[in-house]
């Protein structure tokens, strides 16, 4: 009997013909927790993947289109979940408390949906890096953890070409929207890539982090830059 990764409750596996005949897919969450995950469903914004009904682009993306420097850098972003109190609690336990194993919650979702999002075969995965200090504190890079799941499922390479400049260690989540948008590019490229790129991170809030990274990659010659985050 397996236990729910989030709440430690025992998971009851339903007996169906397929679980009776084949070894069952191990479940990670109990039904109650699973039902609280807010999975993004169409209609969504064509560009950033946020649930959005009227018109093709959401308000945020219209803003990006008016931005001279960043308007063309990102082809599109896709995400799995909307930002809810429940997913916030999961991410907090995973990333800040450091409960690494919670990444298994995302396995089935990444496995089932990424194919429909991007032309995966031509992509190289680039995770958003952490500062040295933050990496030591957390013990792992959450973006790299997601990237590894994607790489494993779709057999595409990971290249850690982005690095963080020093003195930019401040947490994004502690800044306001305007502070984030006004911030200078915190990244630099340690190597150039000529393939299409999939940037991977855990959360897309204003999108500033991803646009900074995308701009660097695009300027260095990547034809198209896509991005994938767990939460939008």
């Amino acid at each position: 009997m397996s236990k729910c990764l989030k709440c430690q409750a025992e998971i009851e596996q339903q007996v169906t013909w397929s679980t009776f005949l084949l070894p069952p897919e191990p479940a990670n969450l109990c039904d109650d927790c699973e039902s609280q995950l807010s999975v993004i469903q169409a209609p969504i914004c064509r560009r950033c993947g946020k649930p959005h009904t009227e018109g093709e682009l959401c308000g945020d993306c219209k803003g990006w289109k008016d931005d001279d420097i960043h308007c063309e850098v990102l082809a599109c972003n896709r995400s799995l979940f909307t930002y809810s109190a429940f997913i916030q609690a999961i991410i907090a336990q995973w990333k800040y408390r450091g409960d690494y194993q919670l990444k298994e919650i995302f396995f089935p979702f990444i496995k089932s949906s990424l194919q429909s999002f991007y032309p995966l075969k031509e992509l190289t995965i680039v995770p958003i890096p952490l500062s040295e200090e933050r990496l030591y504190e957390r013990g792992f890079n959450q973006a790299l953890a997601i990237a590894e799941i994607v790489a494993e499922n779709y057999h595409i390479p990971i290249e850690q070409v982005l690095s963080r400049k020093e003195n930019h260690g401040e947490k994004q989540s502690k800044k306001s929207r305007n502070q984030r948008l006004a911030a200078k590019n915190p990244f630099f490229l340690s190597k150039t890539l000529e393939t299409n790129v999939l940037i991977v991170d855990d959360i897309y809030t204003t999108g500033m982090t991803i646009h900074h990274a995308a701009r660097l990659l695009k300027e260095a010659g990547c034809p198209s830059v896509y991005s994938f985050t767990l939460v939008r």
Binding site: Q93, G98, D99, Y100, Q101, L135, R138, F140, N141
Partner: protein, 445 residues
């Protein structure tokens, strides 16, 4: 800086030590701090030295960026900080901390009732005996906190370190100001998740049981409140934590209104000293629950029909008091509250605190609740009904506790307690027998 006061009796992760890295290295070099392995292996199975977890399912692997190897970490205590196999625990090994000598630490000038006084004297006697244990079996509303004051006064005079552990954060928040008023010159801190009063250097520590995870051999006097309550009774790690936080010579005092079987067996076998406080501080006996049978009750409730017995009770009672209705499941709580136009509350309710406060201020007349309000809350004047009292969540302890919500105030020392059931259970009979026993003891005193 007084490192002894800050670190003595603690068992900390390196990230939890509130000092600079250089200071930590200095303390390690001079052997004032020592390192202990955080996760050890026994017969090939990992064991967390911080929370005592041995369940293989609750260990997971992490490709650690600190040491560049993949090793285990403990998932059982990750909510209070992550234990990595490569990150040793730190323990103080220097001099013992000293606390300010106080002649008269206690400023509380109330008086104890004879029953309270008897218990207080028993506690005072026991704190001089190392390793002694005493259980205080005091009815709901006996005034347990005041009973502790004389013994704590004596312990402070002897410069002992004291811990009051309780299962719930609400109780910690409630106790801190009362103790601060009673012992204004004593270093004191309150520990619960995200507590703002963590100074790390209290002589008197009021803590949730979970927070004791950061202590080892710290306290001379360990007082455990509500030793029968849910997380303590249920979770194997918690008794381990309180035991580890106490010094080997420590005295333990347990407080409870409804001891569990194992404690009662020990009392009967005279392995555990007991002191009864069978009477409430206002001197009136406990209300004895009335039983009311209703056929097909479960079916009626499931089909969203009103319970006849409850409707009759509501119509017949005088509306002077507020009404508190307990139901076994969240689903039923919501159904019943709709039937009677009442407010409902349960553990997952975001407005829980607000609703309970409004009920306390008499802004709400009828409140339907799960067992979350079974203990620790005081409403001055309520009648209590348990609907579906045969459900297994209403065990003997729960029924005694729920009945103990009625008649708390000296202005209205009685109240009705009604158990509506579909067949009497042992729990109901035992609970009523226990209440009657206490009333008998109270009369004889």
């Amino acid at each position: 800086m007084n490192f002894a006061q800050l670190l003595a009796g603690k068992l900390l992760l390196s990230s939890e030590v509130p000092l600079q890295q250089a200071t930590i290295s200095y303390l390690l070099r001079t052997n004032q701090l020592t390192q202990l392995p955080s996760i050890t292996k026994k017969y090939g199975k990992p064991e967390c030295r911080r929370c005592g977890n041995k369940d293989a399912q609750l260990f997971a692997k992490i490709p650690c960026a600190r040491c560049d190897t993949t090793h285990v970490y403990c998932r059982n205590c990750v909510q209070t900080g992550r234990v990595l196999a490569c990150d040793p625990l730190l323990v103080w090994h220097g001099i013992e901390p000293t606390y300010q000598k106080q002649k008269e630490p206690c400023r509380w000038n109330g008086t104890l009732t004879p029953a309270q006084d008897k218990a207080a004297t028993a506690i005072i006697e026991v704190i001089d005996h190392p390793k002694a244990e005493l259980i205080i079996w005091a009815v709901c509303g006996a005034g347990k906190t005041e009973m502790l004051f004389p013994a704590i006064t004596k312990a402070i005079q002897q410069a002992k370190r004291i811990c009051i552990a309780t299962p719930r954060a609400d109780v910690v928040r409630e106790l801190l100001p009362r103790f601060k008023r009673a012992f204004p010159d004593t270093e004191m801190e309150a520990l619960y998740a995200n507590s703002p009063d963590k100074t790390g250097r209290g002589q008197l520590v009021i803590s949730t049981t979970h927070q004791l995870i950061r202590y080892q051999a710290a306290f001379d006097l360990m007082i455990i409140d509500e030793i029968d309550a849910f997380p303590y009774h249920h979770d194997k790690t918690l008794p381990l934590l309180t035991k580890r936080a106490s010094k080997a010579s420590a005295t333990s005092i347990y407080l409870t209104a409804t001891p569990r079987k194992e404690h009662r067996a020990k009392i009967r076998r005279k392995q555990l000293a007991v002191q009864f406080v069978p009477i409430r501080f206002h001197g009136h006996p406990l209300p004895v629950p009335q039983l009311k049978i209703e056929f097909q009750l479960r079916k009626k409730l499931q089909q969203n029909n009103q319970s006849t017995a409850l409707t009759q009770f509501i119509q017949s009672r005088s509306s002077k008091r507020q009404l508190l209705i307990f139901a076994p499941t969240i689903e039923l709580v919501e159904k019943v509250s709709k039937q009677y136009n009442a407010i409902s509350v349960h553990a997952a309710d975001p407005d829980r605190k607000e609703k309970v406060n409004q009920f306390r201020q008499k802004k709400i007349d009828t409140l339907v609740t799960t067992t979350i309000l079974e203990r620790g809350v005081t409403f001055p004047s309520v009648d209590v009904v348990i609907l579906g009292a045969g459900h297994h969540v209403f065990d003997e302890a729960a029924i005694v506790q729920i009945a103990g919500r009625a008649g708390r105030s000296p202005d209205d020392p009685t109240g009705e307690v009604l158990l509506i059931h579909q067949g009497k259970t042992n729990a109901m009979e035992d609970a009523i027998a226990q209440i009657k026993m206490m009333n008998r003891k109270g009369k004889n005193q």
